[in-house]
């Protein structure tokens, strides 16, 4: 590709509205442009990378025995009625009406459509197992699209769905897909981790996310240093502290704590450590039909944070988790939110394992401006249940029993699920089994954020000059930078010859034939992150040499003009 025939669209300045480095570099390198909030055009350089990621995903899916299909972006709302997800999904699911006023949605995912296909096309266990996938445009009407293509509204996803007659068979395919995902991320050269995950609105039992480790990640990933345990913090179990709960030694007392509205304020005022306090949060209870909605109290240690995903799975707690409003707080605790305590509440009380292990602790007194000290479970507070409802913290024992936990930030680029019969049952997708009887199929689903991978790869691989691509997904393998070509016939001749030879060898090359200063060409090539740069100048050319510069290390080597193509070939192979 000649630059003169191409749309480079590189930018010198970092755009103001780009917060994370991948977004900044994708704009600067001319990879994407924003059309509207969460909607991006892929310019030529970006699309070249995107297609390479797509192809790696496709190859590994095919290798794993998955078969490619393509479903519509626009889906009939009827199907979402069948599974009930039309109600479960919030406004992220964009609902539309066609010219005949029929209801459709823009597909954020395709479980309904694929299950509809399966129930019509798969009739016998003999056709199973079967894994179908597509690489396709999805739409999620994010309330706050951000970080460029990382959290866009329109994006490219690979979604695969597998169908089985038994859970054993599902498990086998699940493991194959797990391996295929590892192959994909290995080939792209990402530092990533598969982690135990919550199943969210997709549903199912077993689930793993694949996270690319990066500071800008939106997820906390928990690792054990003593095993290969890894989980999304949403899912990581927080163990109860070891040993028996200490015995009560203090008497219960009420103290004035005017103007102390946070745990921090209370600790300072009473000179206690946050680990000796509990905080009590009121959330909406699951409403029985026809009843007014009550509240549930959630109690965690003062230094801990509530894990909302765990909490909303507790029986009796409304999902999605909704914090009580002022009125509900007054009704249940007779005080403001800052002074709630677990004792004497007129609602169910769920206590985290660590909070439940405390003796002589400080808590709100359910009176404004007052707290209690020397509080003890059972003695002072009865009628509560214990559950795991907090986030784990760095340094605590791993729930796997080996090692202690550390936490890193991750970007979710893949998510696989053992769905079981959730969708097949709702949509009555059955087959004849070996015994000739109708049986509901069991399913898996497997997603990869294809466009997000591009951003994630940049988050992990960049420097002050720009992007550093892994060769597997680089937009071009080689750039040719001829210095003052428009003045030197020798440079032009050498550049044209090398360009032709590289192309003949099937190597993707960007030939910078613009009338630009060498500095501009160097900067653009480094910004775009092309792995191999061939610099052609009059001075070296007199000695029959050109320069090869490696983007990754900056290393420069002089190579004979006659050998440069072979040199590049050997480095790529």
């Amino acid at each position: 590709m000649r630059s003169s025939n191409y749309l480079l669209s590189t930018l010198k300045e970092t755009p103001n509205d780009a917060e994370v480095v991948s977004h900044q570099l994708m704009l600067r390198a001319g990879m994407v442009r924003r059309l509207a909030s969460g909607l991006y055009t892929w310019l030529p350089t970006g699309l070249r990378v995107l297609r390479k990621v797509e192809n790696i995903v496709r190859e590994e899916m095919n290798k794993a025995g998955a078969v490619e299909t393509l479903m519509p972006v626009v889906q009939p709302a009827d199907l979402w009625q069948e599974t009930g997800r039309i109600d479960q999904f919030g406004p992220e699911l964009l609902r539309i009406k066609d010219r005949h006023n029929r209801s459709f949605v823009l597909g954020p995912t395709h479980e309904e459509v694929i299950t509809d296909i399966a129930r019509k096309e798969i009739n016998s266990y003999k056709q199973l197992p079967l894994t179908l996938y597509q690489i396709q445009t999805k739409f999620r009407d994010e309330v706050r699209p951000r970080f460029g293509v990382m959290r866009a509204r329109e994006f490219i996803m690979k979604d695969a769905y597998s169908f089985h007659i038994s859970d054993e068979c599902l498990n086998e395919t699940y493991n194959k897909m797990h391996q295929a995902y590892c192959n994909i991320f290995d080939r792209i050269g990402l530092e990533y981790r598969p982690v135990l995950a919550d199943t969210g609105s997709i549903g199912g039992a077993v689930s793993h996310e694949f996270h690319v480790l990066a500071e800008s990640g939106e997820d906390d990933i928990v690792f054990s240093d003593g095993s290969d345990y890894a989980a999304n913090i949403e899912k990581a179990e927080a163990l109860a502290p070891a040993g028996e709960r200490p015995a009560a030694t203090q008497a219960l007392a009420v103290v004035d704590t005017p103007d102390a509205h946070s745990i921090e304020d209370v600790c300072k005022l009473l000179s206690v450590d946050a680990t000796q306090t509990v905080k009590t949060l009121l959330v909406a209870a699951e409403a029985e039909k026809g009843e007014a909605q009550g509240v549930v109290a959630l109690v965690v240690r003062g230094d801990h944070t509530l894990n909302e995903v765990k909490a909303e799975k507790i029986a009796g707690v409304a999902s999605p988790l909704t914090f009580a409003n002022e009125e509900q707080v007054q009704a249940a605790a007779n005080c403001d939110a800052g002074s709630i305590g677990p004792q004497g509440l007129n609602c169910p009380v769920i206590v985290d394992r660590s909070a439940a292990h405390l003796a002589d602790f400080v808590c709100g007194a359910n009176v404004n401006g007052q707290h209690m000290t020397g509080a003890n479970w059972d003695r002072d507070i009865s009628d509560y249940t214990v559950a795991d409802i907090r986030n784990v913290v760095e340094g605590e024992p791993s729930p796997c029993g080996k090692g202690t936990l550390s936490i890193k930030r991750g970007i979710e680029v893949g998510h696989i699920f053992q769905l079981g019969t959730k969708y097949a049952e709702a949509m009555n997708a059955g087959v004849l089994n070996m015994q000739g009887k109708q049986q509901i199929m069991t399913m898996g689903c497997y997603g990869i954020g294809v466009s997000r991978i591009v951003a994630a790869a940049i988050e992990q691989n960049n420097d002050e000059h720009g992007i550093i691509w892994n060769e597997s997904i680089a937009p071009f393998k080689v750039s040719i930078i001829p210095m003052n070509m428009h003045k030197s016939a020798d440079v032009k001749e050498a550049a044209e010859k090398i360009y032709a030879d590289l192309q003949a060898a099937g190597i993707e090359v960007l030939f910078d034939d613009r009338k630009e200063r060498p500095g501009v060409m160097f900067a653009d090539s480094e910004l775009i992150g092309i792995p191999h740069n061939i610099i052609i100048g009059d001075r070296s050319l007199k000695n029959g040499l050109v320069e090869h510069k490696l983007r990754l290390t900056g290393d420069k080597t002089e190579v004979a003009v006659a050998d440069i193509v072979a040199h590049i070939k050997s480095l790529l192979a």
Copy 2:
């Protein structure tokens, strides 16, 4: 690919709701399934063909110097406001609101988006010419989707857009694209014709459509037998009859024609030929601001048909063309539609060239149940203008001056346009020209219906057994049909070996390893249209032979087992 690991989904019966052969065969061959009106899922076999078409299109676009991008499916309505097309497009343009109540459209085409990109990214004539394209999902909310993927609502299109500093440069790229389109359709093995075309709602000056010739086509294509003139009937000029208009010989007379409401009725009643009559049609006039909408009379010879595309371009005629309602007819002509004549009308009268060449003709008398005979222009009817407003007919002289015209049906698979400055001007897309001054760019646009090509190819290439694919787009090049493999170890061994060898040679092969009767396997392979079939049976195998059957001709050849892969290779090469 093993059938057991694949979703064949072939059907024995032809589905009732499929009217054209391509739709029937795409359903029967398991290529597509209807999800909702005009929305189709591409099953594995269909997608394999679609991707091959896509790749041929991509390769030829790249060869022609176009650069690939990818724009969003969802477009901000603002951009369509800028060009005014938000009003020009009817309900085919699906309008949607996002969660924040902002207006978007599902993109039926991308002139607005690409022009927005161009005005931001292209600043200098030095960056020109530039041709960008994408292969992408489009949505048009067709009032009556039909013929399967041929006229679907969601479909795959290749759309390219070129930007230039001059019309000469545009013309050059236009010709390159014309050639690229010919290369594409040649490679796919289609019988097609580029034809002069109307520019419709896209706009611009010069335009060609590419039509695949097929009886089921929705367009009439006009050809000259004396030159390479070809045009869509919408665009084909109808010449005036040769020579002077004959002189008037009859006196004007009014005759009673009770119950004669059509030209046919009138001709029978008066024993005249339709070529000696005219019919007068009233359509809505372009309304001046604040005025009530009047009508315009369009007069064509009784045996001719009105060309609506030509008619709506006549100054004073409302676009889109709208026929007058009963009330308007009464107001203008004082009679019912069946008795209108061109004389004494209180509105502009536009007469087709052929009608204007008549003498002593029959026309309506503007009185119910009466016609006029012996009518003559100028003598009896003044105040009219002559224009080309009819469709050409078979056998008339070609407007190119050479040969006579014939008409065939065509399926439009491509359309290229010299847009000029229509979009760039509306959206102020300018660059600095050589003189350092701002200048609006001139543009071309170039569409190919990628998914429609798949259907068009089937319309042209099928027989009673199913589809006959050109090798360039066949879903598989070879099928292996092992007879009774599950009983014969020899057959199984030979089949597995040939399968492995073909795969190793990089040849796409469908290995029918199902426990099915040979007849079912033959039928499926023919239905799907795989070009080469290798039939493996115990009997021939004893003599070291397998059978090669060519789908196109049905020819069978016995080939030594050891030679079959080389044999196939030589046929494919």
